[in-house]
């Protein structure tokens, strides 16, 4: 029986993957082909902006709907003729059949963590086993001593993918050395960085790879119990993990006497409740134990005193998904990818102002330019790249002129940002750096757990300064004060949240200080984003008097009759931008500094 793979990743489901699947089932039945084809619902295939996807005989069809499915069944399956219009196009416009091999978005990737994504049905343990799943666990249990496993991971140079980049093998070794009859392994699946969805895709698309990684870690350090801490925002991931754990237990990969050995290990799921700080490992442990998720001072580190005081290894989802591959293929093979200090690959989530949004796994050391232009297809709408934000609220911005920097832990730190969990937000000329800094500070003010003063008060003070600047009420002294505060908060906060919270401020100041100064001195927002510093106006030359803007305006600020020039009353305008969205003639534009009612704009 031949396989038809349909992407059932989160984004594809949202764009209608299930109705595509149902249409496919129906068409196959009608054509009497249901005995010949098996539909496999897979995890995320990566290019979320073009879903739903379907793969038949290696041919990749994108942007599907029910009608497309009917055409494909008629033409491709029955007639043997590929339907060109649903194929993916190369950047030059040429359509390709086997996009996974031919399109640069896919062809430049190296799939270790995402090896099974888009290939197997995440609900089927047999699919996972057919592709070599649980072989590594078997090998470890039957052929290797715990110390051998640790050596293998140490040699691979694998570093934690949760943000800090701590060597995984070393962490395991510390935990293994602890003398204790109870130990724990925890998978950090909190993925709190807004704009990141790598872990979500792995959990939803290949949950067994995470379970296998956890079981191997448990064997290496001598743990009996594991927890997966998943954020509540990922219900599908929770569902798939629940199914996977149950299957693994029934097949003897989890539970008592795994694979007939005397090694026993089981896993429970714990659900987060929407607190960013719970991604931090000490806060996460508190949360697992059912407490308020407040961090504590380290040391002692979790490997010494973790859950309920016992040695605990905490690893990120992606870190764990690497493990079985390394055991199966050997550390030398792993080190063929990436750089000396940052071996292997990293999964990145591309989002923001970029053509190909989605998930990519690439060797570390690749440059941002390759990632954004060759793989990501560049910036939409002919706009200019302004900066790239990495590491979420703990990271910073990298200006466009630095995008030839290789992506590895050290290079990003040198630029003032961090690798973080792998969220990459691309910003273009319409994004204001003061606004971006303010956005992240608002986030950290809200998410600061309040336990230590520098973080609680310092982030608030920084936010207030940014707010003033964004309203044109800031002074030059404010900018200096902001910078000083940032340094204090960074150096004196208790946990990683506070220690990294100033990064968005520090990097925007470092690379875009002039933009701050323009806000202060000229009361102007060059990107025309900061609301208090802009006005919407209508271009008399372009306005056709179609009334679309007048109809949509929620406050009745627009005046004008059909076929006559329209006008925006500044005193009524709330700057929601709806008029600009609906105008088909590009007649609405923004100016900064703002104008007053009755003030004429110099034509732009």
């Amino acid at each position: 029986m031949k396989e038809i793979r349909v992407c059932a990743g989160g984004a594809c489901i949202a764009s209608g993957a299930f109705s595509v699947r149902d249409a496919l089932l129906k068409e196959l039945k009608e054509k009497g082909l249901d005995g010949q084809y098996k539909i496999v619902e897979t995890g995320c295939m990566g290019m979320c902006s073009r879903g739903p996807f379907m793969v038949v005989d290696g041919v990749v069809y994108a942007k599907l709907n029910e009608r497309a499915v009917k055409e494909i069944v008629d033409s491709h399956l029955v007639g043997g003729k590929v339907v060109e219009k649903y194929l993916m196009a190369l950047p030059e416009g040429q359509k390709v059949k086997e996009a996974f091999k031919e399109h640069p978005f896919f062809s430049r990737q190296v799939k270790i963590v995402t090896r099974n994504l888009g290939k197997i049905d995440p609900k089927s343990i047999d699919d996972y086993i057919d592709r070599g799943g649980y072989k590594a666990l078997e090998k470890v249990l039957k052929e290797m001593k715990p110390q051998d496993v640790i050596e293998e991971i140490k040699n691979s140079g694998l570093r934690g993918r949760g943000g800090a980049g701590f060597p995984t093998g070393l962490k395991w070794e510390f935990a293994a050395k602890q003398k204790s009859d109870r130990k724990f392994v925890v998978c950090n699946a909190d993925e709190g960085d807004p704009g990141a969805f790598m872990d979500r895709a792995v959990l939803e698309g290949d949950p067994h790879s995470v379970l296998e990684g956890m079981a191997i870690a448990a064997y290496a350090i001598g743990a009996q119990q594991g927890y997966i801490y998943v954020r509540a925002e990922y219900p599908l991931a929770i569902e798939r993990l629940t199914v996977a754990i149950d299957q693994a237990r029934r097949r003897g990969f989890l539970g008592k006497n795994i694979l007939g050995t005397d090694f026993s290990f089981d896993i429970q799921i714990r659900i987060g409740a929407g607190a960013f700080v719970c991604g931090e490992e000490t806060a996460l442990m508190a949360s697992i134990m059912g407490e308020r998720g407040q961090p504590r001072v380290r040391p002692p580190y979790p490997v010494e005193k973790g859950l309920w005081g016992y040695p605990t290894v905490i690893n990120n989802v992606e870190t764990l998904a690497n493990i079985a591959w390394i055991i199966n293929n050997g550390w030398r093979e792993f080190r063929k990818y990436g750089t000396e200090k940052s071996p292997g690959t990293k999964v990145f989530a591309l989002a923001g102002k970029i053509n190909n949004t989605g998930l990519v796994e690439v060797p570390l050391g690749i440059t941002l330019r390759e990632l954004i232009y060759d793989i990501g297809g560049g910036i939409p709408g002919g706009k200019k790249l302004k900066a790239v934000q990495t590491g979420g609220p703990s990271g910073g911005v990298i200006p466009a002129d630095k995008i030839d920097t290789p992506i590895d832990y050290e290079s990003l730190t040198a630029l003032g940002t961090i690798m973080g969990s792998g969220g990459i937000i691309v910003l273009d000329e319409d994004d204001c750096m003061v606004d971006v800094a303010k956005f992240f500070l608002e986030f950290t003010v809200h998410e600061s757990c309040g336990k230590c003063t520098p973080c609680r008060e310092g982030t608030r003070a920084m936010y207030e300064i940014l707010d003033r600047i964004s309203k044109g009420e800031g002074t030059m002294e404010d900018i200096d004060a902001l910078e000083e505060l940032a340094v204090v908060v960074k150096e004196t906060s208790l946990c990683g949240l506070g220690q990294t919270a100033p990064n968005p401020v520090l990097t925007t100041l470092r690379y875009f200080r002039e933009e701050y100064e323009i806000h202060v001195k000229e009361k102007r927002c060059p990107a025309k984003k900061c609301r208090d510093l802009i006005s919407y106006v209508i271009d008399p030359k372009a306005c056709t008097g179609c009334t679309a803007c007048k109809i949509v305006c929620p406050t009745g600020a627009i005046e004008g009759e059909l076929n006559k020039l329209h006008y925006i009353h500044q005193d009524l305008c709330i700057k929601c931008g709806s008029c600009m969205d609906v105008c088909r003639f590009d007649a609405v534009f923004k100016v900064s500094p703002p104008i007053k009612e009755d003030e004429k704009v110099q034509s732009s």
């Binding site: 989160g10 984004a11 489901i13 949202a14 764009s15 979320c48 902006s49 993925e191 709190g192 960085d193 807004p194 704009g195 990141a196 969805f197 979500r200 509540a232 925002e233 990922y234 714990r270 659900i271 987060g272 409740a273 929407g274 607190a275 960013f276 949360s287 697992i288 134990m289 059912g290 407490e291 308020r292 998720g293 407040q294 989530a349 591309l350 989002a351 923001g352 102002k353 949004t357 989605g358 934000q389 979420g392 969220g423 937000i425 910003l427 994004d431 971006v436 956005f439 992240f440 757990c449 949509v552 929620p554 929601c576 931008g577 709806s578 969205d581 609906v582």
Partner: protein
């Protein structure tokens, strides 16, 4: 489901996990699923069954964003304000929802008790930004403010239906 049935369902869940107090957060999730938010008597019930102080339950509930100690609309509109959604204009989508529903701020409930609008953090669908979730499972990607009025209309009809069918709240 009437109120007593919900308490029963909650107790059944606690029994399933052997009244393990370290599972408090999971229990609260279950409670919020059943009651939509966490009224005081529900929290007291949990404290009593798990044999932990009420203050402990309150402490945990107030720490986490996900839990609400105030009533919410029967149909909740969740607007993502994660980074990707924000840079693509999620804040403007948010405002438009508030305006269309005549609400002053997020978290407020419409007088008929049907709707409330909430800002949420990244829901992991950044490639579809800006993103809105309505009710339990309706997902809308690539949103813009001018798509809001139509959606509001659609759900107002649904709300009317819910009232007509007399589903107890």
């Amino acid at each position: 489901m009437d109120r007593d049935k919900r308490f029963e369902a909650l107790e059944a869940y606690m029994k399933e996990i052997n009244y393990d107090p370290s599972m408090l957060i999971n229990v609260l999730h279950r409670a919020q699923q059943l009651f939509l938010w966490l009224p005081k008597d529900v929290m007291e019930f949990i404290a009593q069954k798990l044999r932990i102080p009420k203050s402990k339950v309150m402490g945990v509930v107030t720490f986490y964003n996900f839990f609400s100690t105030k009533p919410v609309g029967r149909i909740q509109i969740k607007v993502c304000l994660g980074t990707a959604c924000y840079v693509k204009g999620g804040d403007r989508v948010m405002e438009r929802f508030l305006e269309e529903l005549g609400l002053k701020e997020e978290g407020q409930v419409t007088p008929d008790g049907m709707f409330s609008v909430h800002a949420v953090r990244c829901v992991g669908a950044c490639s579809m930004a800006p993103v809105v979730l309505i009710g339990d499972s309706d997902f809308y990607g690539r949103m813009s403010p001018d798509k809001v009025p139509r959606l509001v209309k659609k759900y107002k009809r649904l709300a009317e239906q819910m009232v007509k069918e007399g589903e107890p709240s």
